[in-house]
Amino acid sequence: MSRVIGIDLGTTNSCVTVLDNGQPTVIPNTGGYKTTPSMFAISQDGKRLVGHLAKRQAITNSKNTVFAAKRLIGRRFDSPEVQKSIDLCPYEIVRGPNDDPRIKIGGKTFTCPEISGIILREMKRVAEEYLGEPVQEAVITVPAYFNDTQRQCTKDAGKIAGLEVLRIINEPTAAAMAYGMQRNQDEKIAVYDLGGGTFDISILELSEGVIEVLATAGHTFLGGEDFDRRIVGHLVEWFEQAEGIDLRTDTMALQRLKDAAEKAKCDLSIRESSEINLPFIASDAQGPRHLNYELTRDTLEGLVSDIVDGTLKTVEACVRDAGVQAQEIDQVVLVGGQTRMPLVQKAATDFFGKRPHKGVNPDEVVALGAAIQGGALVGKDQNVLLLDVTPLSLGIATYGGHFARLIERNTTVPVSKGHNFTTTRDNQSAVKIRVLQGESENASDNDLLGEFVLSGIRPAPKGEPEVEVSFDIDANGIVSVSARDQATGKEQSITVNATGTLSDEEISQIIEDNELYEVQLKG
């Protein structure tokens, strides 16, 4: 039996791990790096590049270099997040046939699961090279606040990469598993995960190998990328004032700015100020212009303090959901590259009234946890058990556009819950069950996961028929919903998670295409 790998498929960086004699271990890529940029590019001469190779040519080939595809996956083309990305990304984002965003580079259109699949395939390759044997199975992490469609799409990405995804687990939960592995005491911990594209906060309780998620919350569109954007915005404004040239429409310049902004931002985590030097950034009648700017930590903090404050509001809500007091938290674990920023560390320290735990590597801990969960599922020594929760409430739309929750967010899975509903019109013979996920009281603001109709209800005045709607989430997170007419016993049901944005045929087609491409590469 081949080994199970753990993959942290990050917005900016991905990391792959494996259990080595029961010890989770990061697998370095060929370049010796422990993480690989989640980037994919098609070079001018048609070559496909992944990871560091893609990153290296990003500035000169920004139109054909995909980054942060995780911010698009599983969303609708019309969603504000996708629209925002269209404004900000140098690569082209087009509407797909299923109203999903697709990415057009090098004259070819890719679905988001396909892009993620290409990155996962690279991680698989890294692992196989290191282990010297084929790898088939993986546990993949996603932001805790990912909804069902986003999770399903990530699973599809795994399939495209030729991996069987044993389980999708939440990033902060994975981090807690890796953290808990080193500890042997009962404690409540908070995992604050601020990565490149997403922010998650989870409160967990650890006890004798059982890890119970008490509550989880977050933002799937907030991360280090947004910090970078603030810096870029600031630089563009400054340059406009200083030199009278607007860089906003110059893709190449923007790409260079973004690159420099991120470097400066990281620099400022250990220094008080950082020099940004971009010669020949633009030119006009008077000749070439250079950008020379000294960014201080103070300025940076001023630019992003509202983002950091915003995360604390989410933290506060999550702590409340967990039914604990901030002081009761025994340890605060910081995860994600952006938590290296002193301002973020200070915010967490102030909020919880204690200094964050130092013992884990924020770039690797999520992936390590994925390998541990892989071992817990199929391995020999099962001494950890994860009691995970469903991050978003599930329910149905009711009369007047309201959202009736059947499973509250943060409910431990597997679980089933049922409730009786009734008709709203006299002699109504059918009810439509619209399965939704989200936190809004308004049905239309939540994500539609699927719908079906239960017909053949006996004619009766409104309010009289009893239709029992039951929700079931199994250990794999698969949601199924059924509706049953109590009078006739008639039943209808759906398995919700069948709905990624790709059909099975499309997936096999993509796999086939990629295989063709692999052959090409070798030949």
Binding site: D426, N427, G463
Partner: protein, 426 residues
């Protein structure tokens, strides 16, 4: 010497000796019960766990009966499988309890399980299978018993008990293993444990659970709980609390609906009144006044429904034919003799290809109102569909006689006649 309950002694299977008449024995009820369990299949080990007697007492009885030749050793229980190197978690449970970790297993005797459910081909030892079966058989027990905690256990103890049970019964423990029907059992068990944990770790729901336990004391010996009312069952399946603010909002809504109901009742609009009361009850299921009013208004509403139904069906276009047909049939339940309804139902039945029904309705319409031409025309159409041209022609003639302006009937008649003429000509 090994303890009778464990070791080889415990695996002895006893049977009644041939020729022994147990009724001749002087036994108290508990001993009698024990004797009745001796069936040539149950090992000593399990007999010890039978309620009503202490294990030592069981040993004493069995030893005495063996000595007196009342029972025989019928065989030996198959040896337990050697513990596999990859120890399934269930087997470590007793070990954990010895650590002082887990609470003692429930004090109740295990429920009888069907040993035939134990499948040796599965990737689960018989021991584990047995404990799954036993746990499943106990799922109707009170929550604290399921978790194996005392009724006054504190939140910490409850959580610990829950965690320990999770280690044994969480479906992930058996991920991808061949466990047959036990998968469904584990799912049920885990969900129930989770429910117990959720209900008992929240003070409000816990108080409710305790109240329901106190309301009817369980029969001695921990028999099954009193069956729960539908509402209670529902509440248990929906263990989340409705916040007071929301509840108040709901009560207010209920009152509004009830006002509307009263208004409708005054205007003799009973159908409307009935549904308003129903909605009031939906929002505030605990209000007795609403429930009483409902019974009264329901009777009157039924009368008016048929009228409504008819109106509704008539407003429908042909694409909703099926729905209309259903509504007309429903209306007939209330007004079986209404010729217009019967006629309409007949027409629709004809469209749906239900000839027998169509005939029944069409005939009924003409019986009740023989003087209306178009009812005869409908009946004629039914006959025509049944290839009974003779009757069809007669009914069409009736129709035209009653309503000389019925062009449709004439056209139908023309279409039918030449054929008849042709036949006559041959």
């Amino acid at each position: 010497m090994s303890e009778p309950g464990e070791g080889d002694e415990g695996r002895k299977i006893l049977g009644l000796s041939a020729g022994c008449d147990p009724t001749a024995l002087q036994l108290n009820p508990a001993e009698g019960f024990l004797l009745s369990r001796i069936d040539g299949q149950t090992p000593w080990r399990l007999l010890r766990e039978i309620g009503g007697l202490m294990p030592e007492e069981v040993d004493l009885c069995l030893e005495t009966w063996l000595a007196r030749g009342i029972v025989d050793v019928a065989g030996l229980e198959e040896k337990k499988e050697p513990p596999p190197s990859q120890a399934p978690p269930l087997e470590t449970r007793s070990e954990r309890s010895r650590d002082g970790g887990a609470p003692p297993a429930p004090h109740e005797p295990p429920e009888a399980i069907d040993e035939s459910q134990i499948d040796r081909d599965l990737d689960l030892s018989a021991e584990v299978q047995r404990s799954i079966l036993e746990f499943e058989a106990r799922l109707h027990r009170p929550y604290h018993e399921l978790l194996g905690v005392e009724r006054n256990a504190d939140v910490k103890q409850i959580k610990r008990a829950y965690f320990n049970l999770c280690k044994d019964y969480h479906p992930d423990r058996y991920f991808r293993r061949k466990i047959g029907d036990h998968a469904g059992r584990l799912d049920r068990i885990f969900k129930k444990i989770l429910e117990a944990y959720e209900l008992l770790s929240d003070p409000t729901t816990r108080a409710e659970v305790e109240r329901s336990l106190d309301a009817v004391p369980p029969p001695p010996g921990g028999g099954p709980q009193r069956p729960l009312s539908k509402l209670e069952r529902l509440r248990q399946r929906m263990p989340f609390k409705i916040p007071e603010a929301v509840m108040n909002e709901r009560r207010a809504k209920a009152a509004d609906f009830f006002d509307a109901a009263r208004f409708a009742m005054e205007n003799q609009n009973y159908v409307e009144a009935a549904s308003s009361v129903r909605l009031a009850i939906a929002f505030d299921p605990f209000n007795d006044e609403y429930k009483k009013a409902f019974a009264e208004v329901q009777g009157k509403a039924t009368e008016m429904r048929a009228g409504r139904l008819l109106e509704e069906a008539e407003g429908m276009d042909s694409s909703r034919m099926k729905e209309a047909y259903r509504l007309y049939e429903e209306t007939l339940l209330y007004r079986p003799h209404d010729p217009a309804v019967n006629d309409k139902a007949a027409e629709l039945a004809l469209e749906m290809g239900e000839l027998d029904k169509a005939f029944e309705y069409a005939e009924r319409a003409t019986l009740h109102s023989p003087q209306v031409g178009r009812y005869h025309r409908t009946l004629a159409r039914v006959y025509r569909s049944k290839s009974d041209a003779g009757h069809a022609v007669r009914e069409l003639q009736n129709a035209i006689e009653l309503d000389p302006g019925d062009e449709e009937a004439k056209k139908m008649l023309d279409l039918l006649r030449p054929r008849r003429g042709a036949r006559g000509g041959n």
